[in-house]
Symmetry: C2
Subunit: 205 residues, 2 copies
Amino acid sequence: MKDKRIQIIETALGLFAEKGFEGTSIRDIAEKASVNVAMVNYYFGTKEKLFERIVEYKSATTRGLLDEIQKNESITPIQKIEAVIDSYIEKLFTHRMFHRLIQQELILNQRESLQNSIVNNFIPNANIVKNIIESGIKKGDFKKVDLELTIATLNGTINQVLLSRKFCNRLMNKSDDYIPYEDIKFKKRVSVHLKQLMHSHLLNN
Amino acid sequence: MKDKRIQIIETALGLFAEKGFEGTSIRDIAEKASVNVAMVNYYFGTKEKLFERIVEYKSATTRGLLDEIQKNESITPIQKIEAVIDSYIEKLFTHRMFHRLIQQELILNQRESLQNSIVNNFIPNANIVKNIIESGIKKGDFKKVDLELTIATLNGTINQVLLSRKFCNRLMNKSDDYIPYEDIKFKKRVSVHLKQLMHSHLLNN
DNA sequence: AAAACTTAATTAAACGTTTGTTTAATATTA
DNA sequence: TAATATTAAACAAACGTTTAATTAAGTTTT
């Protein structure tokens, strides 16, 4: 069964995202995935290589449709931004465990090679958004905003609600066991907020 | 010398912020702080208690002046928001190592008691900002925006640039060894962006 | 002020666990 | 039969923590 490799990957992803890389032992992973401890090293060599494989595996399934949005000539810049927002929210909420993993790795200054590959995966996405805003400015639709920090605001807002459930719940006056990420209403709420925010931030008049 | 305790705290703060709690060993801390390994346990009991002491110690020195901004009746709501933005940026940039520590802890689901105390420290601050925006809405100065998500946007934008230097630098087309957090121009840039953003987001007309 | 005593600070070494990883034997599949 | 998968056991290294001995500092007694 080649499923066992994937079973290990999925289990490790969950544990890494929840407890961190150093906070998760191979024995934790093996037990939760119901495999022998040695299987992890047998399939992936080392713990660090397992981590890299997870990033590879998930990156492949997470590749974006942002290009299509950018190239679509039948919609206005602000409509493109709205499409980007919905695409972002959908992607990050759906793959939120992977996203947590990535964000943790970005904060930590360990495993530099991984940092680079993560950043290199992010930058093209950011550049697409950048281009959309730039062309909106050229067209006269958008104000001359700070491109990079506008992107930081988009990412940052979603991260803020996505990375700490407890903080998010307290802020929203929800009980601690509420899981906002599975609530369609909450996703919609974030979408509406970001669209309104970008409307007033970007649009002239 | 009671300085040694503080020396350990400061060193541990730096290492925890950089390498994470589980990624930092007591021997790492002791070596970098030039003290014997046993001193850490002698002073703080356990590694986890050391962590708690760091949070205590730093929380005390980081207590806010947000209350004063709120109570100041000689300035308008939007001026209050601007003051909050500058206060936030100043505080988080200055204590950015502590802030990294806190954010890491919020993402991870370990050490629940610490999570609670962190969240409980944050919520009052958030509520002050909430009150300012609410009173701005009542006065008719502000639009009826999503209160909680507006706060998430404020926090999230600053976090986004503060938590990953590499990502931040790539986004800004700076070299990898550039340290934006020590650059006054960069701080100013974030301030200007956030103020513009909140102006168009909050203000009527 | 010196000596005696008491507490606190500091050290090197050791403790028992847990860690990631490897081995060597066994079972399974092709 | 040959390659692959799986296992329990063992490995050395690193971990947080404790111990027991030594030094320094502070206090009390003479």
